[in-house]
C-alpha cells in the first residue's frame, strides 16, 4: 500500500510539474514569422509566435512528443522532442515557403474564352468596351487572333476560310443567321446576340472537340445563363438604335424570364455623319424581339426556352456596269431553342435541346429578284459521366434537318443585271438530314497533363455519305504558369444545299480539313499577363469546285492553310489593360471558281490588332483599338469583250483572287461615363469609329465596258456615335 502511495504521489508530481518550451520560428532569410502556430500533436498545448517570432508555452506532457509548427503558405514542420519533466526546452524552427503547388491544368482546347469563370481570356465587360466593336460580340471576337475583320461586319472568318466555316452554337443549338443587315456585303452586319446574357464564350479557331460536327474551321460556343441573375431592366437610347431589356427572377429563384426589344433609327445618325440620305431607299431598318423563360423543377435540373425574332430591310444605291439603282434586300429570322438539363446523381449530367430556325432573305436588284428560305431543326443530347476519378466521358448525338428553298428571277449572265436582260425563273427546294454522334474521354493521369481522344460520326442523308472523324488534343503544364497544347484531328463539313442542287446526282463529298495545332501559353497570375503563341497547319480536300465545262459542282478542290497566331494581354493595374493580337496566315485553295491553287477568300497575310483600355477615374473609361492588315484578295477584271447578242460587255476575269486591296487601317476610340440619373445607374458612351478617316476599300466596280475600275469605299468613314443606358 505504501508503494502505491508513492507511485501515486509520483504521478501527481509528474503531472504537476510543467515544462517550458520556447524558441523562435523564422522563415527564409531568418525573418521572424508572426503568428506561426506551435503545438504538441494530439494536445492543445502550444503557442503562437509574436512579432519577433518568439514563442513559449508550458506543457505537462513528457516523453517523446511530436511538435508541429505551421504557418499559412509555408510547409509545416514536425519535430520529435523528448520532454523531461521540468527541464526547459529551447527549440528554434525554420520554415520554408511552400512551393506553389502546380495548379491543375484546365482541360480546354486552344481557344479564347470569356465568361464568369476566373480562367477566361477576357471578361464580358472588356468585350463590350472594345472600341470599334460597337458592343457587338462577334466584332469583339474578331480582335482575337485566328479571325479577321477586314470586311468590318460581324461575320467571323478564320484562317482564310469563308464565314460559313465557322459554326456558332448557342447552348446546344446551331445558329446560322444571328445577324441583321447581312446581305451581299459583310460591311454592316451586326449580330443579334446579347453579350450580357452569356455565361460563357468559347472561341476556338481550330483543333476543337469531337462534340462539334459539320464544321470545317472554327467554333464559337456560347452558353447562356440557366437562370437570370436578378430582376431589373435596361433602357438604351443611342443615336442609331434604341433598345429595352428586362430580366426577372422569382423570389425562390426557381423561375426566370428575360426580354429584349430593339429597333434601329438610322436617319439622325446618317445625317450627323454626313451620309447621303438619298443613297438609301429605304433607310436601313431593323427590329428585333427576343426573350427567354427558365424554370427549375428541382435543385439539379433546369428547363429553358429561348426565342428570338428579327427583321430588317435595306436599300442601297449601287452602280454596276449593267444597272444603276437601289440594291434592295430584306430578311426575317425566327429562332427558338428548348433545353432541358439535369444531373443524374453526382457523376452524370445530361442536357438535351430542341432548336428551330427559319430564315427568309429576299433581294431585288435590276432583273434579279429572288427569295431564299432556310429552315433548320435540330435535336441534340449530350451526356457527361465521370467514369473514374481521372476519367470523364462525354458523349452525345444529334439529328439536324435542313431545308432550303430558292425561287425568283435570275439573270442568264451574271454580269448582265439590266431590267431587260435575259433571265429565267427558278424554283428549287432541297432538304437533307444529318445524324451525328460522338464520344470522347477526358483523361487526366496527373494534375498537370490531360489527353482527350475522341471520335465522331456524321451521316448525311441527301448524299448518303458517312464520315468518321478521329480527334485528339493534349495539354501539358510543364512548369508553373506555362502550358503546351496540341491538337490533331479530322474535320468535315457538308457543302451547303445550294451546291448539292447544282451537282451531279447530289454526289458531293463533305469538305475535309485536317488540323495540326501546337501552342504555348504563359499565364502569369491568372491572366494579369498572358502570352500565347500558336502555330497551325490545315490541309483541305474535297472542297466544292465548279467544273469549267458543265458548271456543276464537284468535290475536286483542295488546299492548305498555315500560320502563326500571337496573343499578348496585360492588365498590370486595375486602371490599364491592353492586348495585342497578331496573325500570320498563308491560305491557298482551289475552291468554287478557282481551279488552281489561289489565295483563299480571306487569305489575310498579316493581321494586327491593338486594343487598350484605361480607367481615367472610377467612373470614366476610355479605350482605343487600332487594326492594320494586309488587303483582302479579290479577282480583278482585266477588260471587257463586246457581246452583240446581249448588246453588253462581258467581263474578262484575271486569275481568281490574284489582286489585293490596299492595306487596311482603322483606329477607333471610345469614352464611357458612369453616373447616377434619377437615382439610377446610368452609362453614357461616346465613340468615334475610324478616327483617322482611313479610306478602306472593300470592292471595285467597273464602267460599262470594264475599262475603268471604280473604288467602292467602306461606308465606315469617320463616325460619331452617342448612346445613353439607364438601369432600373
Amino acid at each position: 500500500m505504501k508503494y502505491l502511495l508513492i507511485l501515486l504521489f509520483l504521478t501527481v508530481s509528474i503531472y504537476s510539474q510543467d515544462t517550458k518550451i520556447s524558441g523562435k520560428v523564422t522563415g527564409e532569410n531568418n525573418t521572424p514569422l508572426n503568428g506561426a502556430n506551435i503545438v504538441i500533436e494530439g494536445t492543445i498545448d502550444g503557442a503562437t509566435t509574436d512579432s519577433t517570432g518568439y514563442y513559449e508555452f508550458e506543457t505537462s506532457k513528457t516523453g517523446s512528443q511530436n511538435l508541429l509548427v505551421t504557418y499559412y503558405d509555408y510547409n509545416e514542420k514536425r519535430q520529435t522532442i523528448v520532454i523531461d519533466a521540468g527541464k526547459q526546452i529551447e527549440l528554434n524552427v525554420q520554415l520554408k515557403k511552400a512551393e506553389v503547388e502546380t495548379e491543375e491544368i484546365l482541360v480546354t482546347a486552344s481557344s479564347y474564352t470569356s465568361g464568369q469563370n476566373s480562367q477566361v481570356t477576357i471578361t464580358p465587360l472588356e468585350i463590350v468596351r472594345i472600341p470599334g466593336s460597337d458592343g457587338d460580340l462577334f466584332r469583339a471576337i474578331t480582335t482575337f487572333p485566328g479571325s479577321n475583320q477586314v470586311d468590318e461586319g460581324s461575320r467571323i472568318t478564320v484562317r482564310g476560310g469563308d464565314a460559313n466555316e465557322v459554326l456558332t452554337i448557342l447552348d446546344q443549338a446551331s445558329l446560322y443567321n444571328p445577324f441583321i443587315f447581312d446581305d451581299d456585303f459583310n460591311t454592316s452586319s451586326y449580330t443579334t446576340i446579347n453579350p450580357w446574357g452569356l455565361r460563357g464564350i468559347n472561341f476556338s479557331s481550330g483543333g476543337f472537340s469531337a462534340k462539334f460536327g459539320n464544321v470545317l474551321s472554327a467554333v464559337l460556343d456560347l452558353k447562356t445563363y440557366e437562370m437570370p441573375q436578378g430582376t431589373g431592366g435596361f433602357l438604351w437610347l443611342g443615336l442609331a438604335n434604341v433598345g429595352l431589356s428586362g430580366v426577372y427572377l422569382s423570389k425562390d429563384k426557381n423561375f426566370g424570364a428575360t426580354m429584349d426589344i430593339g429597333q434601329t433609327i438610322l436617319e439622325p445618325y446618317f445625317r450627323l455623319n454626313g451620309y447621303l440620305v438619298d443613297s438609301y431607299n429605304p433607310i436601313p431598318l431593323a427590329r428585333g424581339l427576343g426573350g427567354s423563360l427558365s424554370y427549375k423543377p428541382s435543385k439539379s435540373s433546369v428547363i429553358k426556352g429561348i426565342f428570338d425574332y428579327s427583321k430588317d430591310k435595306i436599300g442601297v444605291r449601287n452602280n454596276s456596269p449593267s444597272y444603276n439603282g437601289f440594291f434592295n434586300s430584306g430578311s426575317e429570322t425566327v429562332f427558338g431553342n428548348l433545353k432541358y438539363s439535369a444531373g443524374l446523381g453526382s457523376k452524370t449530367y445530361f442536357s438535351m435541346g430542341l432548336s428551330y430556325s427559319n430564315h427568309k432573305d429576299d433581294v431585288i436588284y435590276g432583273i434579279l429578284n429572288t427569295l431564299a428560305k432556310q429552315k433548320y431543326a435540330k435535336y441534340r443530347l449530350d451526356v457527361t459521366h465521370q467514369l473514374a476519378k481521372k476519367v470523364d466521358i462525354n458523349t452525345g448525338a444529334e439529328y439536324e434537318y435542313n431545308e432550303d428553298t430558292f425561287s425568283g428571277k435570275v439573270p442568264q449572265y451574271s454580269y448582265d443585271l439590266s431590267l431587260d436582260a435575259p433571265a429565267f425563273d427558278v424554283s428549287n427546294r432541297e432538304h437533307t438530314g444529318r445524324l451525328g454522334a460522338y464520344v470522347e474521354a477526358q483523361i487526366k493521369p496527373v494534375k498537370t497533363f490531360f489527353l482527350i481522344p475522341g471520335v465522331r460520326l456524321d451521316n448525311h442523308t441527301l448524299s448518303k455519305k458517312t464520315v468518321i472523324d478521329p480527334r485528339l488534343s493534349i495539354g501539358w503544364k510543364f512548369a508553373k504558369d506555362m502550358v503546351l497544347r496540341g491538337a490533331v484531328g479530322i474535320y468535315h463539313q457538308f457543302p451547303k444545299l445550294e451546291y448539292y442542287a447544282q451537282s451531279n446526282s447530289y454526289d458531293l463529298k463533305p469538305e475535309q480539313a485536317a488540323h495540326y495545332i501546337l501552342g504555348y501559353e504563359f499565364n502569369k497570375m491568372e491572366g494579369v499577363f498572358l502570352f500565347r503563341v500558336e502555330g497551325y497547319y490545315k490541309e483541305y480536300k474535297d472542297l466544292v469546285l465548279r467544273d469549267k465545262n458543265t458548271f456543276l459542282y464537284t468535290s475536286g478542290g483542295k488546299g492548305y492553310a498555315k500560320g502563326i497566331d500571337v496573343f499578348l494581354k496585360s492588365s498590370v493595374t486595375n486602371k490599364y489593360s491592353t492586348w495585342i493580337s497578331y496573325a500570320y496566315t498563308d491560305s491557298k485553295r482551289s475552291q468554287y471558281d478557282a481551279v488552281t491553287q489561289s489565295p483563299a477568300n480571306y487569305d489575310i497575310t498579316h493581321n494586327l490588332t491593338f486594343v487598350a483600355s484605361y480607367n481615367v477615374t472610377d467612373v470614366i473609361t476610355t479605350g482605343l483599338t487600332y487594326r492594320v492588315s494586309t488587303g483582302k484578295p479579290y479577282t480583278p477584271i482585266t477588260g471587257g469583250v463586246y457581246d452583240p447578242v446581249t448588246n453588253n460587255y462581258q467581263p474578262v476575269y484575271a486569275e481568281t483572287n490574284s489582286g489585293r486591296f490596299p492595306t487596311y487601317h482603322r483606329m477607333d476610340i471610345n469614352f464611357q461615363y458612369i453616373f447616377s440619373l434619377f437615382g439610377r445607374f446610368a452609362i453614357a458612351v461616346f465613340q468615334i469609329n475610324n478616327l483617322l478617316n482611313n479610306k478602306n476599300l472593300y470592292d471595285y466596280t467597273y464602267n460599262y465596258d470594264y475599262t475603268k475600275q471604280i473604288e467602292i469605299v467602306t461606308t465606315n468613314k469617320r463616325q460619331f456615335y452617342l448612346g445613353l443606358g439607364l438601369q432600373f
Binding site: G35, I44, D50, V528
Partner: protein, 258 residues
C-alpha cells in the same frame, strides 16, 4: 488512512481529468478561445488576434475538420486581412484572404447548413478586389452565390443583414450602394438580433453592437446628431466595452459635431 488515499486518488483523478479535459473537452477549450477572441477584438490588437488564432488552430489540430473551428479561424483570418488592408500590405491581405476562403470552404464542406459561414464568405470575397481587381466578375459571382445561400438557409440571421449593410454602406451610390440603402439593412439586423438565440454557446454571437453602431454611423453621415447619439447609447447598452463603438463610431460622431 483510507480517507487519505481516497483524497489523493480523487486529487490524481482530478489532475488526470483536467489533463484529459485540456485535451478533449472541446467545448471548454472553445469557450476559452472564444472569450479570448472577444477580448482581442475589443482591444483591437492584431497581436492578440494572432495569439487567439493559434488557440483555435491547436483545437483544430485536435479535432480535425471541426467545421465550427474552421469558421472561427476563417473569421480571424478575415480580421487579420482587414489589419493588413489598413497597413496597405497587399501580400498579407492576399495571404489572409486566401486562407479565410479556404477555411470557410472547409467549414461548409462539412456543414453546408451553417448560414454564418456563408455570411462571412460574402464579406471575405470583397477583399480580393485589392489584389486581383481583374477578377471582378468572379468576385461578384462568388459573393452573390454566398449571399443567396446564406439567405436561403437563415433569412433572419442578423449578421446576414449586418454584412449586407456593410457592403452596401461602402459601395458608392452610383453602384447601388450608399447610406440610404444601407440603413434599413442595419435596422433589420438590429431587429433580428433581438430575437436571435445562438444554438449553443459555441455558436457565433457577435455583431449586435455593430448593428446599432452602424445605424448611428448612418445618422452621422446624414448629419443627424440626436439620432446618432441615441443609437450609440443603445449599442453601449448591448455591449458597454465595445471597441467598435468607442474606437470607431464615437470619434466619427465627435468629428461630425465639429
Amino acid at each position: 488512512m483510507k480517507t487519505m488515499i481516497l483524497a489523493i486518488l480523487i486529487a490524481v483523478l482530478t489532475t488526470l481529468n483536467t489533463t484529459f479535459l485540456k485535451a478533449d473537452d472541446y467545448t471548454d477549450a472553445m469557450l476559452k478561445a472564444l472569450k479570448k477572441m472577444g477580448d482581442a477584438a475589443d482591444k483591437n490588437e492584431k497581436a492578440a488576434v494572432l495569439k487567439v488564432r493559434g488557440d483555435f488552430e491547436r483545437i483544430l489540430q485536435l479535432k480535425k475538420n471541426e467545421w465550427m473551428v474552421n469558421y472561427y479561424l476563417g473569421m480571424l483570418d478575415y480580421m487579420l486581412s482587414r489589419y493588413a488592408a489598413d497597413e496597405k500590405n497587399n501580400d498579407d491581405v492576399k495571404k489572409y484572404t486566401e486562407s479565410a476562403i479556404s477555411l470557410l470552404d472547409k467549414c461548409t464542406d462539412v456543414n453546408d447548413q451553417f448560414a454564418d459561414a456563408y455570411v462571412l464568405k460574402m464579406a471575405v470575397q470583397g477583399n480580393r478586389w485589392q489584389y486581383e481587381p481583374n477578377k471582378m466578375n468572379d468576385i461578384i459571382a462568388k459573393s452573390t452565390e454566398a449571399k443567396d445561400i446564406a439567405f436561403k438557409l437563415e433569412p433572419e440571421n442578423p449578421r446576414y443583414y449586418l454584412i449586407d449593410g456593410y457592403m452596401t454602406f461602402y459601395t458608392p451610390e452610383n453602384f447601388g450602394g450608399g447610406v440610404e440603402k444601407a440603413q434599413p439593412l442595419f435596422e433589420n439586423s438590429w431587429k433580428y438580433f433581438k430575437t436571435y438565440k445562438p444554438k449553443d454557446e459555441t455558436y457565433p454571437n457577435w455583431g449586435n453592437d455593430q448593428a446599432a453602431g452602424m445605424i448611428a454611423m448612418c445618422y452621422i453621415k446624414l448629419e443627424k446628431p440626436d439620432e446618432a447619439k441615441k443609437w450609440i447609447d443603445m449599442a453601449l447598452e448591448v455591449k458597454p466595452e465595445s471597441n467598435f463603438i468607442k474606437g470607431f463610431v464615437m470619434p466619427e460622431y465627435e468629428k461630425m459635431k465639429k
